[in-house]
Symmetry: C2
Subunit: 220 residues, 2 copies
């Protein structure tokens, strides 16, 4: 009985996600779901990305957090439109939350909607939000075994973004191991290494995102 | 209706957790639930702790992971009895899983049962496993805002264990900020800083655990 209920919720979520995607497409807004552990560096990545995207894409952000508005305040300081979702205990965002949050934006003034999901490498995997791309963010300090241990979230992602590359010399992180695991789980996925606080590697991610936005807008 | 079901599950879990605790007390086994994000350094902490506890306590481990047995293999190499739970997608351990896993041990040969929960700073908070203590592990590379953003897991913990202290100079982690947040959420909780790969600070945690085991065994 419990399984049926869960399936129903997922079906309802998938339908809402498709509606979100349709609305985003109609408005010409490209949407990215950013997932990763707590402290993987998702907000810091967004901050660095928006600097690199200046004059190329007009971004906006939906911040998902259990409680508080720490991340939204950081984004607001950049002059980027932001809506904070407080899940009040829930461990992931869902499509209904995104539909509600999206009403807070003027889609005519946006090209790129970044959704920063709740910090969670498990529960975020099962919920399509209506995004066009999902990026999984992993800090070098988290260890190179995470794709092997949390396969679902890596499998469904379109890019692996290794953050905190500048900490790598101080850790036992083996970038080749995680990249090989990712290749097995998601052969088509892109892979990047960045040190977002220093800006290293961010330009390549920005270029890739701009390319993806354009491809989506023109349909090829 | 959904809320009622969730409550029922939690009630059932709480009852099973009490039964686990009773069985552990009867056997004189002290039990610790170790929680934290993926890659917080839980397994590395256990490895370092067992070296520091040699000859003082006889440990065993229950490893909780979505998939695989990477962590259990690491523990097994130390000659410490270990049972791996594969949750097959589930985002936290529960008391029923612990009851089943505990049957794999000879309780007469154990003083300390460490449970390494699934890497998850959200969902693990709601599930008593029957442990005597819960330790929340947070790496300095995860950022000092995590207690503010994920309050429930910190609130219910008996110690904050800041790992990767050796990375602190390379990050913007402010130990005073997280310690102050923890103090607000859990005024009685202990706090430690360790660099487990180098062994720094591990002896203090080991001494604290030995003290807690003895207090529990003698009832004061």
């Amino acid at each position: 009985m419990k399984i049926v209920a869960a399936k129903k919720i997922l079906q309802a979520n998938d339908q809402l996600a498709e509606e979100n995607r349709g609305r985003l497409n109609d408005a010409g807004v490209f949407c990215v779901n950013v997932v990763g552990s707590p402290g993987a560096g998702k907000t810091t990545l967004l901050e660095a990305l928006f600097a690199a995207l200046k004059g190329r894409l007009r971004p906006a952000v939906i911040e998902g957090d259990i409680a508080g508005s720490i991340d939204a305040e950081r984004i607001e300081k950049l002059g980027v439109p932001v809506v904070q979702i407080n899940t009040q205990g829930a461990c992931h965002l869902d499509a209904a939350m995104i539909a509600a949050a999206a009403e807070g934006f003027d889609f005519d003034a946006i090209d790129l909607l970044m959704i920063e999901n709740v910090g969670n490498l498990v529960c975020t995997a099962g919920f399509d939000l209506g995004e066009h791309l999902r990026i999984v963010v992993l800090g070098t300090s988290e260890g190179d075994d995470k794709a092997a241990k949390y396969p679902a979230i890596f499998q469904g992602s379109h890019a692996l973004l290794i953050t905190k590359a500048d900490l790598m010399p101080h850790t036992n992180f083996d970038a080749e191991r995680i990249t090989a695991d990712m290749k097995r789980l998601a052969p088509e996925a892109a892979a990047f290494q960045v040190a977002a606080l220093k800006g290293d590697g961010v330009a390549a991610v920005a270029d890739w995102l701009v390319g993806k936005c354009r491809t989506n807008a023109t349909g090829h």
